[in-house]
């Protein structure tokens, strides 16, 4: 159902081998140049360095598409925390990816308000048309990962779908193929 491996602590789903190589690539530091300056500006907003942890993790994910253990260690060093502490925080929040995901990360809301409007059919349409077939699994070409997500907060526009940072409202099973085609 909705709880997928993506959300539950970084375990890679079986069959998800598309990114295995990527996962073992050496870590290149994120916080240099403009990204470092961005973090420094953020640090002026809070009385503690720790408070910049969520924003720092967002920067990592924007840059790399996911948050690796090496990246967590880098964040820990920059914010004077321990890597274990950072991992503890990362694993609490569902939006940080602890392993690589498809180029188009598709989240479909299936909580009750969308569910009564047919959200489960939308999920099935995505699984079929992306070729993912199973929730939380990345398609063989590395293009798509589909998960169910809890309430996206757009219940009046059922079914809302998030593709990476993009929010798409009123998706129906019929509109799924055109939506996927528009992603490229």
């Amino acid at each position: 159902m909705s709880a997928t491996r993506n959300e539950m602590g970084g375990e890679r789903a079986p069959g998800d081998l598309a990114h295995a190589l990527h996962e073992t690539e050496p870590h290149v530091p994120v916080f240099t140049g403009a990204r470092r300056a961005e973090l420094d500006e953020l640090l002026t907003r809070y009385p503690t360095k720790m408070a910049a942890l969520l924003p720092a993790l967002w920067i990592v994910q924007e840059e790399r598409g996911w948050v690796s253990s090496d990246a967590m260690a880098e964040v820990a060093q920059v914010l004077e925390l321990t890597p274990a502490y950072v991992k503890g925080v990362v694993s609490f929040y569902t939006m940080y990816h602890q392993h690589p995901v498809g180029r188009h990360f598709i989240q479909v809301c299936t909580t009750s308000p969308c569910n009564v409007c047919g959200a489960e059919d939308v999920v099935n349409a995505f699984l079929k048309h992306t070729g993912c077939e199973e929730l939380g699994v990345t398609s063989g070409d590395g293009k798509y990962t589909v998960i169910e997500v809890e309430c996206l907060g757009a219940c009046g526009f059922a079914t809302p779908v998030m593709v990476n940072e993009k929010f798409i409202e009123s998706v129906t099973p019929e509109t799924v193929p055109a939506l996927l085609a528009s992603l490229g």
Binding site: S2, Y93, P113, G156
Partner: protein, 438 residues
Amino acid sequence: MGFPHKPHERETLVLSKHFGEQEAIGLDGWRKRGGYVALQKALSMTPAEIVAIVKESGLRGRGGAGFPTGVKWSFMKPGDGKPHYLCCNADESEPGTFKDREIMRWTPHSLVEGCAIGAYAIGAEVAYIYIRGEYTEALDKMNAACKEAYAAGILGTNAMGTGKTVHVYVHKGAGAYICGEETALMNSLEGRRGNPRIKPPFPAVAGLFGQPTTINNVETLVAVPHILNNGAEWYKKFGRPDNPKSTGTKLYSVCGNIQRPGNYEVPMGFPFKDFLYDLCGGPLPGRQFKAIIPGGISVPIQTREEAENSPMDYEGFVANGTMLGSGGVIVIDDAQNLVKQIARAARFFAHESCAQCTQCREGTAWTTKILERIVAGDGSHEDLETLLEIGENMTGKTICVLSDSCATPVASGLQKFRGDFEALIKKKKVHMVPAQVA
């Protein structure tokens, strides 16, 4: 307005007047609509004067609890030598609720202004707006509005040329329903896991970074500039004459099986029957409303009769078996399997439990398993008693109310729609081996 629809003639547009107007999003357009007049006025008043007006207006928290805003603000003691903080709760995650999203998308400066006034009133120099990570458009709009406000000298160390310091910063969440709970929100903002904290100490004593803190919902804060501009008496006029405890206008998000889902703004005390059938267009063709949840999925489920009798205010909903909550109206019609939807709600809470408290961690999971078993046709009559017993053990026993919120739709569903559960159990499949727990 009933965004995305045109406003209905029976709506009272105060907070939502400019939804859908592209020009209202930017600073110039917002100033043309009277923006930042209230902040200028507020900065010339003393914090105590502002708190007194807000108290007098009767404004109550719009996030769910309905605590009087002026009273909350009066717990903060300006001049105690400590840094104070204002947190704006824009983590809107309660299923059925999407009003704050529209406020931030269409009128981001109204929230910057509300935060700036609120911060000044409680003696805080910094306000953080904690926005859930999924609200990418709201985040962009709020970040842009703050940037404009800084560039125009509205925010900063010389706010509106008064020499006073008011900072408003946007903070992006990362996917966790529980971070809408005020103490979890503070933990998350501090860079921790979003586990709720034990109270006391209350946030006004030791909140964000251990300092006196106030947390207000988006809709609460955007009402404040209107109250300062028009006065407490004006605000109090919106409501039932026989119920002075609920004042002002309220935004409702409407979703589920209904003709015109969207956001609507009506005064306190508006008849819920007219709201559902007139403003929102009534049920879908050939269907009837079966169950209505008026305040987000955490409040008790209403029968159609209860809903049709409710005046829409804090007391009116309580008198009719539920609560106003966040104003997220979820409509379920007679074509749905209600038990399946209650099971889905329970799964939501099981997924979102932070797992600190045993009653919640175990209770939400077992409630979900039993309900899903009933939906799958493997339930027994005993299960219904077990559900109620688990629910009792989940209520009033934990650090925060997530656990209670999971028990509520189950208990109210069983109380009001028991026949639906029993019908599923009667259809029980015949098994050669004992049924497995899911």
